[in-house]
């Protein structure tokens, strides 16, 4: 074993430290009183800083050095969690480029989001709690990234879901937030059932959930042989498992048709949106698919890869169309996240592992930037989220504006910003794989450029429209105390809020160069997957993507830039052109309504049905039995009282009651009645004996 490998081994054994610091921070903060605000924030940021440094050290160690750069640097550390039967369930941590890159990104972006959050949440009374949840979130996300075990990954995956539940519902007193938090958890859990089945199948057939181990019997190391076995629905076993895992990823990464929770998740505070719903948590699905890529590609004949690609493609285009018609500043970003995640999935489905993961990284930076930027806008405009009541913010919030512009250009795919290179790589991968998907993806890219331009002009262009409007609804603001300031002019935000924007902007500009084919032959590809051939470049793709990007921006300028909106009440110019379609898009193609009418209704109906079954059928039978008993006892009473005993006997027996009624009729206290019954019983018994 070389020195380098040994070093990696040591680092892998320390990978647990990366999630450990935020976890400890969360544990400490859960016990802190509400007043310990400064301590809480300091703890969170310090812990995240530690994680960030550790992740950077790990990243450094995985960088290709010397002659061994045609092979992935991978080290892992496994240990026993518990034993059952004659076997044991192992947990483990891994260190390879995929993990290291992702961990560094999560820790780094997370760190700056936390810094921003100290400003955004400055006035919230549950500040401490918020940072506790943030730390827990960071811990679970980092745990997910460093896991060398599918079950550990799944557990962190669920914990990430828990944190999103807690943070989306952070303003729990808003009914919409309370509903959204539940929706997020349940929707992702539907996907998780698929994930769970995948885990169970994988465990059954490989006998382990450890991804890599030294003996070469890890689950992923057996992917090849799984690819030879038959699974369900014409897939190989590996393909079936991959499909199941992908269903989980669909839930987490908000892929159509499990995307519905993501836009609602905007109910949480904006840094949460940035952290969970843009940069990192939703990325978990893409990361997981990347991590389990060996299963997806184990059998070339499987349709699971096409499935992934088409789901991604549909999501990319579908969400992009919705984003065009939204007015909530965060909602536009949310759908754009959906759409970008679709791009990533599409890339993975087209075989572009590197492209997908690369876009994941770059997107994390500029989407976090955009979300934090929108958070700054929201704070700067005193908790205004409706873009129609913004405008002209360029004047009031210059730093935010410039950073936001960088993020927007990166998202729109304008060269040389980060998004251009990564999206380009995706389009190239798709182009080689399926032309139709490529065309649709290009259309989605066009829409992306368009709706981002629209947002820029609505928010920063034109003049301030907020003052013209009466006090806005309580639902869109988390803070009642801000209500009175609604008419104030917007202002620039404090340094701890804009500094993260600046830092992230730098990355949004330069990050993409790591993955350009023109610079040292795609550095990122060599880092992540040196064993895979780099995709062949296709000029038409690049040219076309630049063209559609420019066209989108141009169209946006034509519609929204040339003649800015004057009043908040003014209808969207696009609404006139698109007519009813605009409403459909605005209402998100009515998917929520469809679910409400079908699945939700059906679930509730089933609940009512089974409650009724319990009440009417099961208890009904029970009560029927009880009534039969009662009836028999009544018969006895009739025979006993009316026939055997004098018919006119007193009312003394009438006072029998309740359950005792059963036999109390016979137990009238009269010795002779007992004697009669006894004699009759004897007769019956003897008669049975004789005449049997």
């Amino acid at each position: 074993m070389s020195d380098h490998a040994q070093h990696l081994q040591q680092l892998a054994a320390q990978q647990w430290l990366i999630p450990f610091f935020p976890l400890v921070a969360a544990a400490i903060q859960s016990l802190l009183p509400r007043s310990a605000r400064r301590l809480s924030a300091t703890l969170t940021i310090l812990a995240m800083g530690m994680s960030c440094l550790l992740a950077a050290r790990a990243f450094w160690a995985t960088l290709p050095v010397g002659e061994q750069h045609d092979e992935v640097a991978r080290a892992f550390f496994n240990f026993t969690w518990f034993r059952f039967g004659t076997t044991a369930l192992e947990f483990g941590f891994i260190l390879d480029p995929l993990t290291a890159g992702m961990a560094l990104m999560v820790a780094f972006v997370g760190f700056w989001i936390f810094v921003n959050a100290t400003g955004y949440m400055a006035e919230d009374e549950n500040f401490t709690r918020f940072f506790c949840f943030l730390s827990l979130f960071a811990a679970s996300m980092l745990g997910l990234v460093v896991a060398n075990n599918l079950l550990l990954l799944f557990m962190c995956w669920e914990l990430v879901g828990l944190c999103s539940y807690l943070l989306i519902g952070f303003w729990y007193f808003k009914p919409s937030a309370a509903a959204a938090m539940k929706k997020a958890f349940i929707t992702t859990r539907v996907g998780d059932i698929g994930f769970f089945i995948g885990i169970l199948m994988l465990y059954q057939h490989t006998g382990t959930l450890t991804l890599y181990n030294a003996e070469g019997t890890g689950a992923l190391q057996q992917a090849g042989s799984l690819g030879q076995l038959a699974g369900w629905w014409g897939l190989s076993l590996a393909g079936t498992i991959a499909l199941m895992l992908f269903i989980g990823a669909m839930g987490k990464s908000a892929q159509f048709p499990l995307h519905v929770w993501l836009p609602d998740a905007m109910e949480g505070p904006t840094p949460v949106s940035a952290l969970i719903h843009a940069a990192t948590m939703v990325a978990a699905g893409v990361f997981m698919v990347g991590r389990m890529f060996a299963l997806f590609t184990a059998n070339a004949g499987d349709w699971v890869m096409d499935f992934v690609m088409w789901i991604g493609c549909i999501t990319a285009l579908f969400s992009a169309t919705i984003a065009v018609a939204q007015f909530d500043i965060k909602r536009v970003l949310a759908y754009s996240t959906c759409s970008q995640l679709g791009f990533m999935m599409m890339a993975l489905g087209a075989g572009g592992l590197v492209a997908g993961q690369f876009h994941l990284l770059t997107h994390a930076f500029f989407k976090a930037l955009l979300f934090l930027g929108s958070g700054c806008v929201i704070i700067g405009t005193h908790h205004e989220q409706d873009m129609r009541r913004m405008g002209g913010l360029r004047k009031y919030m210059p730093i935010t504006f410039w950073c936001y512009l960088v993020g927007m250009l990166a998202l729109a795919g304008v060269p040389p910003f980060a998004g251009f290179f990564s999206k380009d790589e995706i389009l190239v991968a798709t182009y080689h794989h399926n032309k139709l998907a490529w065309v649709l993806a290009t259309a989605a890219a066009f829409l992306t450029a368009f709706y981002m331009t629209r947002q820029m002009f609505m928010v920063f262009g034109g003049t301030w429209r907020g003052g013209q409007h009466d006090a806005h609804g309580n639902e869109t603001t988390g803070h009642d105390e801000h209500h009175g300031h609604a008419h104030h002019e917007p202002h620039e935000v404090s340094w701890n809020m804009w500094l993260p924007l600046v830092v992230l902007s730098v990355f949004a500009v330069f990050m993409g160069w790591l993955g350009t084919p023109w610079l040292a032959g795609n550095l990122f590809h060599h880092y992540l997957a040196p064993e895979m051939p780099a995709p062949e470049h296709a000029n038409i793709v690049v040219v076309l993507s630049v063209v559609v990007g420019a066209a989108g921006i141009l169209l946006g300028w034509l519609i929204y830039g040339r003649r800015p909106m004057q009043h908040a009440a003014e209808p969207d110019p696009l609404a006139g052109t698109l007519g009813g379609l605009f409403t459909v898009l605005n209402r998100k193609w009515y998917v929520d309504e469809l679910y409400e009418a079908t699945i939700v209704r059906a679930t509730q109906a089933l609940g009512t049905l089974f409650r009724a079954v319990d009440k009417l059928v099961v208890d009904g039978i029970l009560h029927a039995i009880a009534w039969i008993w009662w009836g028999v006892s009544q018969l006895f009473r009739w025979i006993g009282d009316e026939l055997i005993i004098n018919g006119g006997f007193d009312a003394g027996c009438e006072s029998v009651r309740g359950g005792g009624r059963l036999l109390a009729r016979l137990q009238n206290g009269r010795v002779q009645t007992y004697l009669r019954v006894m004699a009759l019983g004897a007769v019956v018994l003897v008669a049975i004996y004789f005449f049997r």
């Binding site: 055997i644 005993i645 004098n646 002779q672 009669r676 004699a679 009759l680 007769v683 003897v686 008669a687």
Partner: protein, 168 residues
């Protein structure tokens, strides 16, 4: 023997019937004594002379007298039972049940092969044999019986005394 049997049987049955149907309690007791006498007669007929004697001593001498005392203690000596209830629902149902029991028992007797055994005219047991057996093999039940009798005696006293104490 057969003739004697039938005569005594008729007496016994008559005594029993009257004892359960007459309304005057004292008449009932008198009929009961007749019944006891009949039973004693059967015992003699069956060569269980000792039991015949015991029957007369205990039942007629003790039980019947006891019943008479009870009658006198509870109501006026010739007290009647109240309105006649024959043909009432209760009477009929009781009679039917009794008839059913009789029917079942008679059926059992008829079915049983041993019922056809004729008399082998055994010689009477000596009282001395009985006494030896009682204090020999059967001493434990015998002692138990003694305890039972004592308990009954004490019980009867306590029940009677209870009222006395309460009155005090």
């Amino acid at each position: 023997m057969t003739t004697a049997f039938w005569i005594i049987t008729i007496v016994t049955l008559l005594g029993a019937l009257l004892a359960v149907t007459l309304r005057n309690l004292v008449h009932c007791v008198l009929s009961l004594i007749l019944f006891f006498l009949g039973i004693a007669g059967h015992y003699f007929l069956l060569r269980a002379d000792f039991f015949g004697t015991v029957q007369i001593l205990i039942y007629i001498g003790a039980v019947a007298v006891l019943i008479l005392f009870a009658i006198m203690l509870t109501r006026n000596v010739t007290g009647e039972e109240g309105p006649r209830e024959i043909l009432g629902m209760k009477w009929w149902s009781g009679a039917v049940i009794a008839a059913l029991v009789a029917g079942v028992l008679l059926h059992a007797v008829r079915r049983d092969a041993t019922a056809a055994v004729a008399s082998s005219a055994p010689k009477p047991l000596s009282v001395a044999d009985l006494g030896r057996a009682l204090v020999g093999d059967w001493v434990v039940p015998f002692e138990g019986m003694a305890v039972l009798l004592t308990a009954a005696l004490i019980g009867a006293v306590v029940i009677a005394l209870e009222e006395v104490q309460r009155r005090r």
